[in-house]
Subunit: 190 residues, 4 copies
DNA sequence: GATGAATGAGAATTCATTCAT
DNA sequence: GATGAATGAATTCTCATTCAT
């Protein structure tokens, strides 16, 4: 099935997002041109603009997708009984999200934080969601160290994609190890 | 003292590096133009090119500077008696390096990994130094988890600059907490 | 009819080639900027880059066009019965080609040989075609002098554009004289 | 003997001319930067400007040197008895001049005619000298063809450097052949 | 006789974006 | 839904040249 045929049946818009995310993650946001995205899909630049108003718009759509899953997790978590058990479960679900497209997404976000900061002055609300997620992972009156631990426990999972390269172990092994360490970092008291 | 006067006494080349690092870290490598750097220093773009052959060349000089300090640490560490005590000390010295210009440097490196990967196919040898540093921090026959821990114990310190923003604590408090957590991550057995 | 209207009906790409060849021939390749070409056509530099990937690319297109006509001549000649008569005919056809756009083309090529050598490491195959043309013009076991004569008989025609300037005769008169001399240079024996 | 030592004893100004001519001939006038010339000599660009007021100035000095020898030839020839014998002798002396630095010089001049035309609106008088040389080579009331022949007989010799490349014969063999053909081209009548 | 530092002008090229069809 | 042609603004980089020391 050629690129054109693929598009015919599978939502050009979705395809653009997939390709764009891959290129953004691999070469960086600024270094990825609309031309490059269009060429990968064998469509014209103008076609891109039919589906997305601008390059930033593609990013916003990408972040929005990630945001939905995060928001779902946050909402669910906030309805549960707080405590160490919940924290472990949240971490586990976060890892599940990451295992999917999420890892690539976070690789992109981490590696392009600066560009993103200037694109989305967080109208997307991702920062807000993360804040609530951190709150759930942090016991009341937590020390600065514990607050940092909460942030790191999430970050550890996201870092897998970046740190994996020089370790000789499969990505799955590494992700498993990351889940373990992540859990250890979690503040232990209620 | 005007910008011109300041330059007269303080090595234009060094000034360029300082300003460039700040801009790269704040706005990203690709988003920082030679024009922007030149304007900050009140010199012309051409003057920039008198001191550095290219934009990439500035980055290389920046990385080389960081590399020197890393290499010194590695060399010193490799001459010591291995063991948990050394690992703690290495971590502590790493934090010292980072506290200086280093933090900004690592913020820049993390936030622009992709751009960097394409600029320095590690001819600079930073990756090699880090590998040796990891080796020192990792006991022989370490598990994958322990290998990851070693990497994270360094990363935690570098992440301070990025994660600090939403925590309400001074940068120093946060760095102190980071040192603590970093030490905890270190593999305990000899 | 304004420049814009003219373009509408006459293939911008072709127009660019015509204008570029004229400027290259008149002012030299390096001395002709993309800006100059664009201005002549009342289009923007960016429009130029829509049609040609680079300045060199324009040259390559120009050479390719010349190459086609040369290749046709070579192919035809190689299918004919060799001998003095063929050689005269080849020379005559060469002059015909040159009379068209060709003269300007060769003026450009001669006057910019060095630049060209570095642009087309003869992937275009022009050198190969000329070699075959020389072979046709040279009897078997020709002396060095005769080999040189073959080359000169072609060159004489191409030189017209360059040498004409200070002679007080029309370009047509000169070309006629050149054809004559060219024929005389041809090795006489079979 | 290093480059610096060489300069100490051998007139920097002369060295600059030699190097510049080589670079101009090899890479073209516009494509040869002052930087490139300076680097070849292991001196600074500024030093170049100590010896020559500008890049064009180097060219003018180069042409002036060639002009002297041409002018001498012209002057001598104009004092001789005209006729076929003189014409042959002139041609021969021209070939002698060319054999020296001259060939490189003419390769440079031919390959950069356009640039030269714009640099020296013949204040150097080379064109004038050549005109007189042509007059000597051309019998009174010569046909257009004969006038062209005169020009070609000189050109043939200058072309050697350019056409030699694909012939498998030594440069000396080729030059000898060129002298021969050149003489044949000369108008025969008085 | 020469250098180090700097400049202003201009080069080629790339980019996100637009719009009539 | 998509294309071909074009634009304006920006980018990296190079060049000839200058001048105080």
């Amino acid at each position: 099935m050629g690129a054109a045929a693929a598009r015919k049946m599978g939502g050009t818009r979705a395809q653009i997002q997939t390709v764009a995310l891959r290129l953004f993650a691999d070469h960086g946001y600024e270094a990825t041109s609309m031309r490059a995205i269009a060429e990968q899909l064998s469509i014209t630049k103008a076609a891109l603009y039919y589906h997305f108003a601008s390059k930033e718009d593609i990013v916003r759509a990408l972040i929005a997708a990630m945001l939905v899953r995060t928001a779902e997790l946050v909402q669910w978590a906030e309805e549960q009984e707080p405590g160490p058990a919940l924290r472990r479960e949240v971490l586990s679900r976060w890892a599940d999200i990451m295992q999917d497209q999420g890892l690539r997404m976070f690789r992109f976000l981490s590696a392009n934080q600066v560009a993103m900061r200037e694109i989305t002055p967080d109208k997307s609300g991702m920062a807000a969601q993360l804040k609530r997620l951190f709150a759930i992972l942090t016991p009341p009156n937590a020390s600065v160290a514990d607050q940092l631990r909460a942030r790191l426990s999430l970050a550890v999972i996201n870092m897998v994609g970046m740190t994996a390269s020089d370790l000789d172990a499969s990505e799955d092994e590494i992700l498993a190890a990351a889940r373990l360490i992540s859990a250890e970092l979690l503040p232990k008291q209620s």
